[in-house]
Amino acid sequence: MMEEAGYRDPRAVAALLRAAKAEAASLHRPLVLMEVCGTHTHAIAEAGLRGKLAPEIRLVSGPGCPVCVTPVGYLDRAEALARQRNAVLCTFGDLFRVPSSTGSLERLKAEGGDVRIVYSPRDALRVASENPGREVVFLAVGFETTAPTIAAALVEAEGAGLSNFMILPGNKTVPMPLRVLAGDPALRLDGFLLPGHVSVVTGSEAFSFLASDYGIPSAVVGFAPTDVLAGVADLAAQRRGGRAGVSNLYGRAVTPQGNAVARAAMDRVFRPESSDWRGLGPIPESGLLLRESLAHRDASRLEVDVPVPEEPAGCLCGEVLKGAVEPPACPLFGTACTPDLPVGACMVSSEGTCAAYYRHERWRLAGGAA
C-alpha cells in the first residue's frame, strides 16, 4: 500500500476524471458535492481538480479544518491561561499562527508566554512531567481522528498521577454539522466526500444517516487524486441511478465499524455537548467536553478573565466554512487577508479553504497559467 505512485497514476486520474464528468453530464445540471475534510480541500487544490471537474461538477469545501472552525474565544481563553496563570501551553503547530482577538499564540510566545509546539499529546505529557510545579495545558482540538489520542493521553496522565496535565477542551465531532449542512435547502448538496481518517475511527456506517435521513449519497475516500476522483465518480453515479448510500472507497484504511477501541477511549473521557462552530454557530452534540470524573483536568474551569471575543470584521470565514461562498468572494481575500497576514483562520491553517485557494488556485482564478 506504500506504492504511492499507483494512487497518483496520471492515466487513472485522466480516466476517472472523464468517467466522473460523463456521469455528471447526463444529469444536465451541475452536480454540487462537498468535500468535508480540509486535507481533501488541500489535495483537491494541489491536484487542480476543482477546475478540471467544472462545469459538470462543482466541488464546495466544508467545515473540515478543525483549526478553522474553532471559535476565536477558544484561543483567547488559552492566551489568558498563559498570561494570567503562567500555564505552559502545548499545541499542535496548526493553531500556532491562528489569529485570536488580540494576537495569536505565536505572538504570545514572542511576548514571553510559554507555548510549546508538540507533534503528539504524549509530548505534552512529557512536558507536564518535566514541569511538575506548573499547569501544563494541552490545546485539545481536532475531530474524531485526533480526539482518541487526547483521550489516551488523559488516561495515561490519570494512571501516572500526573496531576498538572490538563486540556482545554475544543474537540469536535463531524456527524452533527453534516446534518446541518445536509438539511440546509440553500446549499442543495448532491453528495458528500467523507473524511477518510475520521472514518478510520468512526467507521463508514456512522454516516449512513446522510442517505437514510436526507437521501444524500456519500463516499468515504482517501487522499490521493485517484481516491478523490473515484469518490466523485461514485457520487455522480449514485445520483444518476437515483440511489443514496455510503460507499466506502477507502477500504484499505476504513471499515464499516471503525476503531471501537479508539471510540471507547473517547467515551471514557469525553461526553458529547453542544459546541460552537465558526460559521455554523452552536450545534448540539458536536463537541467533546470532559466527563465530570475528569473535571480536575479541565482547564476551561480554571479562573481567568477572558475578553469578549472579537471575530475579525469583514471576514467571510463563516460563509466559506459552510460552502456558501468561495474564498475569492470574500472582500478581504488576497488583499487584506493573505497567508502572511491572515485575518481569518481559513487563511492560516495549511488546510484552510482560503489558504488552499490562495496557494494553489489563485493563478487559475486569475486566468493565468499554473
Binding site: 497514476d9 499542535f92 485526533t146 482518541p148 475520521v198 477500504g251 484499505r252 476504513v254 479508539a262
Partner: protein
Amino acid sequence: MCLAIPMRLVEKDGWEGTVELNGVRRSVSLMLLEDAGVGDHVLIHAGYAIGKVDEEEARLTLEGLERIAASLESGGG
C-alpha cells in the same frame, strides 16, 4: 482534516511500538490499536496508531486503478 501516515510496525512491547517508513523509525503508542502485530502496516496520527492498513484491500484498489488506467489506453485516450 487529519494527516495519518501508514508505517510498518517493527517492534511491539505492550502498548509501546516502533514503526518504520523508508528506514525512519519512531516510537508510537498502541493504546488505541490493541490487535496490531509486528509486520502490520498501521496508520499513525499524532504519535498514536489509530488503524490498520488492510493490505488485501490496498492490493484490490491498486489493481482496480491499473484496470481503469488500462481502459483509458484501450479506449483511445
